[in-house]
Subunit: 339 residues, 4 copies
């Protein structure tokens, strides 16, 4: 039986509580929220859990093996540090930390204490993203050429973070999962509302070794909700539309072959177009967060590295951090190795 402590019962916390409470061999031991109203809601929904308003108490509870942290990102580092030092494994809401330095320190602390860190990159547990990973890894798509992602809606303006910290972890974690390596450079531009200094709109552009590019459009001020990613490979292309109720992933047997002409006509190129069937593969429907909770408990039990571990969390934070540096410097290209 694994004992779980949860800190933060605001927007996402109740989803974590619900999913952990339904896992076998797992007990939701305590919930911590400093907001009295939220603490009351937690008490009502989970009569068996201890409700505390002081995180230290939760962190020192010997009945708790792992702590799930669903608080604003600025508190991730101190809460996780305390939990790790008290010998707890930790699952953190995305983004992992506010800065890459915080992320590196937590990785260090976890290593010293023999603890596990998982980051809640939920999308990597969806059937759609796992199917795309399978398609990319099998070679069916071919070498990746570009990824273009749009994630926009009339969104919840956040108090403490801008649109990048809010939305980019989703798309960057998906891209990193599919690509499997870090980009070389990061470039970003953005816009703030006239009454705020937080970006509500941003574009991030990543360049990888070998010419691969990834581009993300994030927007809290769009009249329509769009969540669409195009993934182009040398053989096939994928459109992943998360707003589709079914057929979220469509694989297009489309592409081009370019041949140069002979030396006499240097600039003459010949383009052959290929167009075949489109296939929307069957996608597993299981709730991503249920799968993630199950996987995290497995890792805690068997001392395994989670699919979405701290290194992946750090990789996402570094790219976000570089994007923010780029925005703050007028869209300058930032080499990731300098971050």
């Amino acid at each position: 039986m694994i004992g779980i402590g949860l800190v933060g019962y605001g927007y996402w916390g109740p989803n974590l509580a619900r999913n952990f409470s339904r896992q076998p061999d797992c007990s939701l031991v305590a919930i911590c929220d400093s907001d009295a109203k939220k603490a009351e809601q937690a008490a009502l929904a989970y009569p068996g859990a201890e409700i505390v308003d002081d995180f230290e108490k939760l962190a020192r509870n010997p009945g708790i093996d792992a702590v799930a942290i669903a608080t604003p990102v600025s508190s991730h580092y101190p809460l996780a540090k305390l939990a790790l030092e008290e010998g707890k494994d930790v699952l953190l809401e995305k983004p992992f930390t506010r800065t890459s330095n915080e992320a590196r320190e937590l990785i260090d602390i976890a290593r010293k204490n023999g603890r596990i860190i998982a980051v809640d990159h939920t999308f990597l547990y969806t059937g759609a993203v796992r199917k795309m990973k399978e398609l990319v890894d099998s070679g069916e798509i071919g070498d990746l050429i570009y990824i273009d992602s749009v994630r926009v809606n009339l969104g919840l303006f956040q108090q403490d973070v801008n649109v990048i910290y809010d939305l980019a972890p989703h798309d960057i974690s998906i891209a990193q999962f599919l690509i499997g390596r870090d980009p070389v450079s990061v470039q970003a531009v953005g816009a703030c509302h006239e009454d705020s200094d937080m970006e509500y709109l941003a574009y991030i552009h990543l360049e990888y070794e070998g010419g691969l590019q990834a581009h993300f459009h994030m927007n809290w001020l769009s009249p329509v909700k769009v969540r669409r990613t195009m993934i182009a490979g040398g053989n096939k292309m994928i459109v992943y539309d998360d707003m589709e109720p079914s057929e979220k992933v469509k694989v297009y047997d489309k592409g081009i072959d370019i041949r140069r002409g002979d030396s006499m006509s240097l600039y003459k190129i010949y383009v052959d177009y290929r167009t075949g069937d489109m296939v929307a593969p069957k996608i597993e429907q299981k709730e991503a967060l249920a799968l993630e909770a199950e996987h995290f408990l497995d890792c805690v039990r068997d001392r395994k590295t989670p699919l979405t571990d701290a290194r992946q969390g750090l990789s996402v934070v570094r790219i976000i951090e570089a994007a923010q540096i780029s925005i703050d410097n007028g869209g300058k290209k930032v080499n990731l190795e300098n971050v």
Copy 2:
């Protein structure tokens, strides 16, 4: 009766021929194409027109009042120069010219010769774009905040120009038409196919005085065809989807109001969301090119400045040129006044 000479009977030329031949008080006097096969097609379709393979002959034909140029962009400058010097008015396919210097010279030549230049920014004659212009100018949309445009498909790879020169004139001319002034800076990134040094994919980002931003995604290598522009104002937001068979323009009565909290809670912001009706206004269905041909003939007849005149053409070319400079310099921000 206005006499028209057409040079270039490839992809777009036949559309110009068809539309001018149907206008009243207008005669398609001559067609010039150096490709024998295309010349033959022109002869078959327009038995009344003289078919020539030498542009000088057409440019010197006294029965011709105005010349329509639908050739590759690299030939725009010499052909238009000759036509203007021979006293002809000129309609040029987009983009106006290869460089802004060429554009400026042509403007100069036209002024000296008292000639009219029109640039074929066809979209500005569509019912959809004219309706959006009307909505923006009436104040219904409010101050513009951002424009985001996506124009992608598995496109015709061009021999002589990259995706920017091919597709960006559409979106930039629409944005400039709606906004009514030049951006301050231009930034762009792009990708080339491994077997070509021409960009097939590009993102362009424009910044205007006062915080307005415009972003364009152009792509010849997309599995799906998307032509969608979001135009956000302080009052309402527009989605213009050119792939919709009807209801191309949708106006959303959506937005936010941000209020800061009092001085005690500096970071506290309050966001109010507004959501009202969505209206898809009736759009005039008349073919844009027919309207454009009619308007050009009116300008020739009455010596008026065309809606899509050389200054607008120059404005688009400058932005494209700046975008290319930005790409060639690793995505560096380019001040437009330096171009």
Copy 3:
């Protein structure tokens, strides 16, 4: 404080429980389900409610003012009869009863006992349907000409009822709500799976005085989910698409005017087409079942007739019954007054 007893904790019962438990001045006193597993689930979710397996016990509980019945339709009559005779008001899941005779008897029993019957035609409490009612009643749509409704998906095959009893109550109750009177005749055709004698597919056609027609397509064996209703009036036309996440209701300013030619050309007709703006009016987002629970409690408290009362329930049951008679007689037209 109104005491609610719920019978049936299968597919729909938990939704009723959740919504009544959240209403102010209302207490979920007891839940009855003969299935031990479901009774256990109910006990877990509502620790404050008494869990019984014998409906009589619930019906005779003096702390219960009103009974919500969410059991298979064949049990509606005996359960409601008992509850009404014990002095309880009753809310019944759709369809109201298996037969119109049962419906008439329940109405009679309720009248004799001064009790209220409400039927759970949930859709009439949605923002979309209420907006359409408002548009029709205001005269904006004009005289109704036809209603065409499609409700198909790869659906849950029911054990005890066919697709008509399962799906038609939704569309018929919406149509009756908008039209406000009974049809004159009912005609239906259907298809059964080779291994079953229950219709999985059916088409129902209603004719009203004055030429108005309504047609319903219901299907449990469709590869795609469609829930779309077209409502045509003399002035405007509505498309109600319940699968749209937003903009469920679209109002088209479209129509025709037909003029006959003079007497010399009897068959010559002139048709004028009108096409104006399309408007998707803002729709209230509140959960229909919450509104319905609130309204039912108001009716119980103030002894008012519910919006979806027993007469409306009877009207729907009669049409369904007539449709079944028509199917059983090879699609014969059935006059509703004979049912």
Copy 4:
């Protein structure tokens, strides 16, 4: 060289003229239209063709081998009769004839004169319908269970025919092509505009041996354009959406298996649902009418029976005729063998 004569240069005639004029070894010899304005248009577009206003002259022209008839349906019989008796092969616009008796007579006349009749069921030459035929014939779809087709828009009200004669030939010819046999019975209902006695809206329902059903919804007064057919088989299901610019045919690996329980629980059925990939197979893009013209010329040259021959035309006319009888008799079921 095959000489073609065309009668009727209204809505569809120009399409036939264009397609025949582009076929090799074929000459558009003469065009007949009694309307002077249309005759003038024909003369302008086809300077090489003789323009006549008297069909007899065309029918007796020895340079003409085959006559294409694109006139209103009421004139099909007399025109085709004359052409056949003059020894010409005939291609008729759909529907073949006004009545099945006319159709039978023309078949007889053609047989006696050794002439070929083709009916212009254009859809059977589209890539989409041919692909569906291939899927059905290969057994991939399994035994057909039902076909449901919707063809509605704000349509051109016809002067001389109702919506059934105008639109049903498309859907019925597609259904007959896929199913390969006649239905047993036909049932139909419809609605007329208050100022007209022609149906603008109709539903037709066909029953086949073995339980297969087909249902068609045709409507000239719909606010939106829908052209969608669902074809359900025991193994897979197809959605054919002709409004999709690409991916018109989608094949869903979906279905159910029903097992009855043991004899103790007679009414207990077990339903297993299957859901697999969806595939949108590549569809040939060639214009259907070009293919049809080519095929007709092949048949004329080689004296072969056309894919869309007179028997198929008769089959469609019989079903339409039965549908009209059913409508005129209040939706009564009509046995096709009595028509």
